[in-house]
């Protein structure tokens, strides 16, 4: 008897779907508070930073009004940055955590990363929806983006960028454990130096030039620029970001193709 072969695309989608549901199940049920914590964390972060902002203003007695809505600025930056950081850390552990599943022939290591990226997108979407509802309920200024389409495209671009970096890090981490520890420190430093808390316009030119080497700064400026009235994307170098997107993906895929079999059978 000959068993009918399934189409490769169909196999791929089944695998991604199965892995996606499994990851989501684990994320939500990890500990009793898994689901609450997933959604509470971003709000706490944003709340703390808005509070600090208010304190500083009161302390310095500054009466100057911002040209943009600060809470929206913080929320959009944090959500985007968190997604990048989550994709990075989750891809890093993807091969190790799913080792056992490679005994199913159709599960390829890269599928586990793709599934985890989709899980992060899904969770981020939920967080965004909650933020938007809050924005509506509290009637926060500028809670709807200035240019929805371009914000959306910037986020998609950020996801592709994160995937490329994530793939590279995942491969590196699988063969050299210390890469993971290094990334842990880096992602914390990046949070401070990625223009999440402040628009680039507000800092001196010298500092701007240095920070602009960081591709995440470009993404933050892009998202903030398209989201908020009173800000723009004039400091963003799109070609530079494009390099940062394409090169890691190509190197990542090239390494992956070379090393896939070793990852499966290790």
């Amino acid at each position: 008897m000959k068993i009918k072969k399934r189409k490769p695309s169909f196999v791929f989608f089944s695998v991604i779907k199965a892995l996606f549901l499994r990851e989501l199940d684990m994320r939500i049920s990890s500990g009793k508070s898994g689901i609450i914590w997933t959604f509470l964390e971003p709000f706490l972060q944003v709340f703390i930073f808005i509070y600090i902002h208010v304190l500083i203003k009161e302390h310095t007695g500054s009466t100057s009004m911002d040209l943009y809505s600060y809470s929206v600025f913080m929320s959009s930056g944090f959500v985007a940055f968190n997604m990048f950081r989550q994709i990075l850390t989750k891809s890093m552990g993807a091969f190790g955590a799913n080792k056992g599943l490679f005994s199913y022939k159709q599960v390829k290591p890269i599928d586990t990363i793709i599934a985890r990226v989709f899980v992060e997108i899904f969770l981020m979407t939920c967080v965004v929806v909650i933020f938007l509802i809050l924005g509506f309920l509290f009637d926060i200024d500028n809670y709807i983006p200035k240019n929805i389409l371009l914000v959306f495209l910037s986020i998609i671009w950020l996801i592709i960028f994160s995937f490329g970096i994530g793939l590279l890090v995942a491969i590196g981490n699988f063969f050299y454990m210390s890469v993971g520890k290094f990334i842990g420190i880096i992602s914390f430093i990046l949070l401070i130096f990625s223009a999440v808390f402040f628009p680039l316009n507000n800092i001196p030119k010298v500092a701007q030039d240095v920070l602009l080497y960081n591709p995440l700064v470009h993404f933050m400026e892009m998202i903030h620029g398209f989201y908020l009235y009173g800000l723009n994307d004039k400091l963003v170098d799109y070609v530079y970001v494009l390099y940062w997107t394409i090169i890691p993906i190509f190197i990542g895929l090239w390494l992956y193709v070379k090393l896939e079999k070793r990852i499966i059978s290790q």
């Binding site: 008897m1 000959k2 068993i3 072969k5 399934r6 169909f10 196999v11 989608f13 089944s14 695998v15 779907k17 199965a18 549901l21 499994r22 199940d25 684990m26 056992g100 599943l101 490679f102 005994s103 199913y104 022939k105 159709q106 599960v107 079999k261 499966i264 059978s265």
Partner: protein
């Protein structure tokens, strides 16, 4: 037919390379194949290579057949998910519809005799229970080849008998590749034999002949 072309497989050990297969070219005809060899000779590695989840260092292994995942003692399960969730996961993996998945869940629950444990996380299972779940699950799917690593020795005497009977019924519609140290089981289940020995691979049309040679080596 499974084609092996110039297949070389080795592992790195402290004392240099250890060869499992050394430049092997062979065509293995269809049938129920029993894999023989001493401990550490590379039986399981060969089995995994035939199933396409481990790869030769050189050469290629090709076949148009579909292979199951290797049935062993509970590999491929996720510890903190329930037995039921794991069954669902595998059904999703193989693109089963909702109705098919429901049927498979019921069938597996009944066959594996896990009772309430079916809705408990796998990490609470004993190795025998994992084996039972894995075996029950694999029976629900159709493959050209089932790859089995000593699963038949799972569970108590009653379950062993049941498993053997279920497998015999399954063999009517598909082939198996079986790794076992139990010569009686091999004789009962397999027609042809493959002997892994010192980096060589020998095919026997009759499993009894293979067992004879294997016993001579073992002496």
């Amino acid at each position: 037919m499974i084609h092996l072309t110039n297949v070389t497989k080795y592992f790195h050990t402290k004392h240099g390379l250890k060869y499992i297969l050394k430049d092997i070219t062979i065509d293995i005809p269809d049938g129920n194949i029993g894999i023989l060899g001493r401990n550490g000779a590379g039986k399981s590695t060969l089995m995994r290579m035939l199933g396409g989840i481990e790869f030769p260092n050189k050469g290629t292994i090709t076949s148009d057949h579909s292979f199951s995942w290797p049935l062993g003692l509970g590999g491929g399960f996720v510890g903190n998910m329930t037995g039921k969730a794991n069954v669902k996961f595998v059904c999703n993996l193989y693109g089963k519809t909702k109705q098919e998945t429901q049927d498979i869940i019921i069938a597996v629950k009944e066959f594996s005799e896990l009772g309430d444990y079916f809705d408990m996380p796998i990490k609470t299972y004993s190795s025998g229970m994992r084996g039972r779940l894995g075996f029950g699950l694999s029976l629900a799917f159709d493959f050209d080849y089932m790859i089995i690593d000593e699963t038949l020795s799972v569970g108590d005497a009653k379950f062993k008998k049941k498993a053997k009977e279920a497998l015999k019924k399954k063999i009517e519609t598909c082939n198996i590749i079986l790794v076992s140290h139990d010569m009686q089981t091999l004789k009962e289940m397999c027609d042809t034999g493959l002997l892994v020995y010192n980096g060589k691979l020998q095919f026997f049309k009759d499993i009894n002949e293979g067992i004879k040679v294997y016993n001579e080596i073992n002496r």
